[in-house]
Amino acid sequence: MHLAEGILSGPVLLGGAVLAAVGTGIGLRKIDQERLMTTALLSAAFFVASLVHVPVGPGSVHLLLNGLMALLLGWGCVPAILVALVLQAVFFQFGGFTVLGVNVVIIAGAGLLGSCMFRSRLADAKGRAVAAFMAGFLSVALAALFMAVALVTTNQNFLVTARVVFVAHLPVMVVEGAITMFVVGFLAKVQPEILGLDGSLIKKEE
């Protein structure tokens, strides 16, 4: 899911960088003292998740966890993903510094968009599993779509690129959906306030 350096044109890179900077600014305001450690840990999980291969399909794909991060952190996922991408570029040579902004927009933007409509449904114990699965699934699907859009500017055929990227990520979408579902289900039991669920919900369940 990391676009490599030297593929995209200057204006796309610049646009991505500006959007990423704005998102990071918003995100940094939203992270309060309480969420700091959660943010850092999820950021670290994202950093490592890219090493976990999903050995299905034709390409080379790995876990993203962007849906989970956006569900748990909201806008706070933007700086978290930014930091993780910087460290991945340094330690693993994934992506790179010029494409950093675009990669942040693709991954964090897709996570935010993919999970925004499901965030409010986490409070409902019945629909929680489905909502979490969909958030994980959609976030990866949207990231694949965003990536195809970014690649269009390199005069490649959009439909062909989109299909290649989309098909390669289908297994990841399912795996991500499942992981997001399990993590959210687990947190709802053990640590509901991480999900933004307050005491009223716990009382309701009791």
Binding site: M1, H2, L3, A4, E5, G6, I7, I31, Q33, L36, M37, T39, A40, L41, L42, S43, A44, A45, F47, V48, A49, S50, L51, V52, H53, P55, P58, G59, S60, V61, H62, V83, A84, L87, Q88, V90, F91, F92, Q93, F94, M147, A150, L151, Q156, V160, T161, V164, V165, A168, L187, V190, Q191, I194
Partner: protein, 196 residues
């Protein structure tokens, strides 16, 4: 509070397991190239040793953007092309159309014929009638030996090229995780000071 500690511990364990559950594989496409006789061979692979099939390979000089050779990898991720006539460093780039791209710099010294004296002898051979038999023998012998050595060197060159690829190590992973904790600590410190 106990719940917080439990969560942090749990997440740490999850991260730790993720890091160790699989052999460390980087996610990108690698290409490397080496000279083999009159050809330059390239191998392209995704992380985890999956061959990069049907990926576009282009060769160009580092200075200009003109593409000297273009082709695509086969089912094993291999692509070979004839050595270019004029010397100079080559940038060999593999691009898979889905955002994966890798490059390899093959320096002129690594593929140019490194036995000019053999050729010199071969050329001189026609011009110098003096002691022809000895000259021919020596020149041919040099040529034959050089070719044989070249054959033996090709796999070695391939292995060297493979080794030159930077692999992700557990140190990278643990070091990276350390950065996250450090950054979180830093942020917590500054917020604490601001709040006070």
């Amino acid at each position: 509070m106990r719940n917080d500690v439990a969560t942090i511990l749990l997440l740490t364990v999850v991260v730790w397991l993720l890091a160790h559950a699989q052999p460390v594989q980087a996610h990108k496409v690698h290409i490397f190239a080496y000279a083999d006789g009159e050809q330059i061979r390239t191998e392209s692979r995704f992380s985890g040793d999956r061959p990069a099939r049907n990926c576009e390979v282009t060769v160009q000089a580092p200075a200009d953007q003109e593409i000297m050779v273009a082709g695509s990898t086969d089912a094993q991720g291999l692509f070979a092309f004839a050595k270019p006539k004029q010397g100079g460093d080559l940038d060999i780039i593999v691009s898979c159309g889905d955002g994966h791209r890798g490059s390899w710099r093959l320096e002129a010294a690594d593929y140019l014929d490194d036995r000019p004296e053999a050729h010199e002898h071969l050329h001189q051979e026609s011009r110098q009638p003096a002691s022809p038999s000895a000259a021919i023998d020596e020149a041919r012998l040099r040529g034959i030996v050089a070719d044989e050595v070249e054959k033996k060197l090709a796999p070695l060159r391939r292995d060297l090229a493979r080794l030159a690829e930077r692999k992700t190590t557990p140190q990278d992973i643990v070091g990276g995780i350390g950065y996250f904790l450090g950054l979180a600590g830093l942020a917590a410190y500054f917020r604490y000071r601001k709040g006070r």
